[in-house]
Symmetry: C2
Subunit: 212 residues, 2 copies
């Protein structure tokens, strides 16, 4: 079996065990066992528990970002065919992709969202880069929507940044809610957030703010 | 100095050091030093690092929940004088209280939001109770707003639960954003979320959903 394939099997096993046991409690013995390889081979390929965890974070962060981008642009390799869609349709596609991906890979979501952020460096920095990339992507979607609506006054750049943070935080929270309740589908979670966010963002785009 | 006062000084020091160094890296020596007491006295009063951390979580969780409730009900000891206010004003008051409190106690927010949730049990359970209490409180506000609006169809209980999760997650995300950028005031963070959430929730209350 080629090394690249073996490594992916090790990473699959590691994401599962890290996600279920936590970084510190996870044992390299169990990871090797689940991957169906010897522990020395895991060390030979991935060097250390720390490097293995870092590799898990990188792979899963890249997979999540790719899934969301592919959702927005109309599928893997779709080459951005949905680029001409209105911003709300792009957001809806992105949310569906996000909740589908996190529902399909609950252990990976736990590794990224719950574990990596708080195990100190270098892990926190790895996942912070991913979160910033997603916030920047959402920021560009919101800014584009504001330009489309082009009512005055345009949303300030600073407020767009805040709205993107709110949207990403809401999505993170709902992913945990949906993954913790088997009766909540990815589509339902996406629809809940779309209604919460868009009807709200939609009003903002039209220059209608909530006033006390 | 009475024991109760000394204990609060120790907790003040512990929240600061745990917040800045992380649970594992924090040293009892530094905590005792910052509190201006001997290390044996910290152990005499709080028993262990684990119990000290648990006491920090409990105190800060109770303080945060109390601040939000007081904001909504019109101040500490206000006895719910704002109970008659429309739901949007109650939410606005609650958000201002939340962002003011988390801005004033950034180390406490890091302990509750970033550290306690991921250091395993018993800490995760302590902070999960607080989060559930806040989600339940927000759920009741949203349900009340829906009853006020009483347009048909009423929001389903399940969707209200999802909206509350979205709102709490958005608030958590914005607290981190605001605390990480000194130029973002508590009031600005609250206003950003209020516009995001209420204009959106407001449309939902009127039965106007986003449709693809």
């Amino acid at each position: 079996m080629p090394r690249a394939v073996r490594e992916q099997q090790m990473l699959d096993a590691a994401v599962r065990i890290f996600g279920q046991r936590g970084y510190r409690a996870a044992s390299m013995d169990e990871i090797a066992d689940v991957a169906g390889v010897s522990k020395p081979l895991v060390y030979l390929y991935l060097n250390s528990k720390e490097e293995l965890f870092t590799a898990c974070i990188r792979r899963e962060a890249a997979a999540l970002v790719a899934a969301v981008r592919a959702g927005v642009s109309g599928g893997e390799g779709g080459g951005g065919v949905r680029g001409g869609l209105p911003a709300d349709r792009q957001l809806w596609a992105g949310l569906q992709a996000f909740f589908t991906h996190t529902a399909e890979r609950p252990d990976a979501w736990v590794v990224l969202h719950n574990q990596a952020r708080t195990q100190g460096e270098p892990f926190a920095a790895e996942v912070a880069v991913m979160r910033e990339e997603i916030v920047a992507f959402v920021t560009s979607l919101i800014a584009e929507a504001a330009r489309e609506a082009h009512r005055k006054p345009e949303l300030a750049e600073r407020e767009v940044a805040g709205l993107a943070q709110a949207l990403v935080g809401a999505a993170e929270s709902l992913a945990g809610w949906a993954n913790g309740d088997a009766s909540v589908s990815a589509k339902e979670a996406a629809a809940t957030l779309m209604n919460f966010a868009w009807a709200g963002l939609g009003e903002l785009m039209e220059g209608r703010r909530w006033v006390p």
